[in-house]
Amino acid sequence: MSMTATRTDYDLLPYAGEHHEELSFIRKYIFSTDHKTIGKQFLFMSLIFMLLGGIMAMMIRWQLGFPGQPMPGGTLLPETMSPGGIILPEFYASLLTMHGTFMIFFAIMPLLVGVFGNLLIPLQIGAPDMAFPKLNMLSFWLAVPSGLMMLASFFVIGGAAGSGWTAYAPLSADGQYTGVYMGQRLWLLALFILGFSSITGAVNYITTVINMRAPGLTWFRLPLSVWALFITAILALLAMPILAGALIMLFTDHALGTTFFRPAAGGEPLLWQHLFWFFGHPEVYILILPAMGIVSEILANGARKPVFGYKAMVFAICAIAFLGWIVWGHHMFMSGMNPMLGTTFMFSTIVIAVPSAIKVFNWLGTLWKGSIVFHVPFLNAAAFVSLFIIGGLSGVFMASTPVDIVITDTYFIVAHIHYVLFGGSLFGIFAGITYWYPKMFGTMMNELWGKIHFAGTFVTYNLVFFPMHELGLQGMMRRIYDPNNYVYLQHLQPLNTFISVSAFALFAFQMIFMVNFLYSIWFGKKAADNPWRATTLEWSTPSPPPHGNFQQMPTVYRGPHEYSVPGAREDFSPQWESGGAGAPSPTHHATAH
């Protein structure tokens, strides 16, 4: 581990001070190689896909809340989806499949990795851009056609894939079981292309972090968000090829009649599950680790304290990333694999609770004896901690194999995954977007509407997902079109209706975020360079930073989250400022918030 990283390989990338070329509109906004623009492109793309995924969720909740009743606006959809506005079971299967697919692969993953990876890595390590800017551009322009292809599958004959986002074979391996032929193939191809987008991104992030850190930026001076994104990129680089391989096998089963997963001719359905979850569990951590990094940083900023146990946090990220590879079998306790294998996976799974616990305690430690400023990013980060605790603890139930017999494939799992991916990842994303918005767009989002969005989302979110634990404990299975078909589930209808109404309210609060987000780009208050009085390198640049980011290569003098250093005049000591423990810099643009 060298004290200073060498830059020789990437000297051709110019810093802002050396850069004067004026770019055409197309090179600047569409086929841009600037990491910040690509980050923003990913942001717009994922927010649109998230909106679509949210609309699908609303349709699912309509059917569960008001089964068999015509959906408002449902008559606008084709007869093959909702004749007379009533959602068909076939369409419901497509909806639950595509809701999961869009939210996981086209919303949460690109938001965390595509947006924050692109935006933060070069800015926080003092680099003018990514190591491979053109590869970076390719990464985005692979994701767009992939998403459009996925969306288009709704409108082909047979409709979109209906075998769940996990695409268990042989349901997914032969069109005769679902009546979906083209839709399933488009699903497979679209994900295959998206995998390449992830891989090109991951190569870039890893190379950039290893090679392009500014002088003085040692590994243990990296902001936790960069640590998390770096480890995530390694996970993506190793996991996505496994998915790609599995997708090819499933595609040839479906389209060319091979029999990898179709048992009629000797194939093995469980092989798909092993491959899928060997990719899928690292994927789960791809979907949460960056949010953990972002949240650590924002909690420290809000509490005006260094991150408690910085090194423990780094080791916990590494431990989660390593253990994440040997727990995939916990998705398969009831799958029919050897039950004794289940015992092995139970132990590895239960051990992964430990690094998660370490992170929670260190977040609490960060707040302890702080001087907390409740800005919108902090509120969302605190919500992340509060909700991740619930998602983490509900995971312990599933890890115990005998208890998992009862709750697997019920709404308990639906509650768990949404506490991790919505309560966790998405609140982390809200925290990250509101925190770095001024750096992205040069303006501030509206604080009051930000708080209204936060409060409304936090309350309605819990009203939607907390009762789902009860649905699961009462035995309501996942992915069922109409629970009333089971007499013993009929008494849950009022609860289901309550959840649906809460979900519509939750959706409405997201519109506030969308409007605030778009409105503030043009009409938001002009942002200062360092509006949150933060310490990491991106805040030394103008808001927004020019092409090339820094006037010249910055030098790093201290750790990443140095707040309230004794003897310093300000309560934050930026990484780029020389001098004793946080001597204030005359060039610094501090503003109150």
Binding site: G309, V354, L367, I405, L473, Q474, M477
Partner: protein
């Protein structure tokens, strides 16, 4: 919020429920503790005039404690789970002399095959039921699960039984029911658009009732022949 499991009616049900309540108690305590601390810190350490944050990078002793304690607790939970899991799922630990049937799942129905007069499965005198199982109370019962199309999952909540049914495999699952009555059988794995409608009934009878029922089935099977079974079964009524 109702955190209770509905009543279980199988021999190993209470063991699973006990584990569940232990985990519920432990996670409940951790939940309350961490959430209370979080909200207490948020209120207690809010920014105020004259109040400054403490400059603190962490505490190794604290890290060791909050690494070790969760580790011991979760490994303890795993150790408590091992024996129960083995007793329920390991075919070599199944009780001997269980009554054996085959259940074949297909989109979107359950077909049960009983051994018939010779007591042997997969012989000519087997008889079949559709979307219905008859089970004797207080007797170990093994269901050999097979699928003729996609993956389904055999789920009878009051028995605390859930097992995926995988085409190309025969997966045995056992239970011993402790109370007579009618219980819902459901499919817990997405198996196509009709997944929600793949329900059935498990009728648990006293051993005398069961034997009488079995005898009438065997007699009916002998009288009717194979051909009528599918038609009779389609109504959901016992074949006769």
């Amino acid at each position: 919020m109702n955190w209770m499991f509905p009543q279980s009616v199988s021999t190993f049900g209470p063991e699973i429920d006990r584990l569940y309540y232990i985990i519920l108690a432990i996670t409940g305590v951790v939940f309350v503790l961490t959430e209370v601390l979080l909200f207490y810190f948020l209120i207690r350490y809010r920014a105020r005039e004259g109040h400054k944050a403490e400059y603190n990078h962490g505490n190794t002793k604290a890290e060791v404690i909050w690494t070790t304690v969760p580790f011991v607790i979760v490994v303890g939970l795993a150790l408590m789970s091992v024996g129960v899991w083995k007793r329920i799922k390991d075919p070599s630990a199944f009780p001997p002399n269980a009554y054996q049937i085959i259940v074949t799942a297909r989109q979107f129905e359950w077909e049960a095959t009983y051994p018939g007069a010779d007591g042997q499965l997969r012989t000519a005198d087997d008889f079949k039921l559709l979307n219905r199982l008859n089970v004797p109370v207080n007797r170990p019962f093994v269901v050999n699960l097979e699928s003729s199309d996609v993956i389904h999952s055999f789920f009878v909540y009051p028995f605390r039984v859930k097992q995926d049914v995988v085409p190309g495999m025969t997966i045995p699952v056992w239970f011993e029911v402790t109370a007579t009555g009618e219980y819902a059988l459901g499919c817990a794995e997405l198996c196509g658009f009709g997944h929600y409608s793949m329900d059935g009934t498990v009728m648990v009878q006293t051993q005398t009732e069961f034997q009488a029922w079995e005898a009438t089935q065997i007699a009916a099977r002998a009288a009717a022949g194979v051909a009528n079974l599918a038609a009779a079964g389609a109504t959901g009524a016992p074949a006769n």
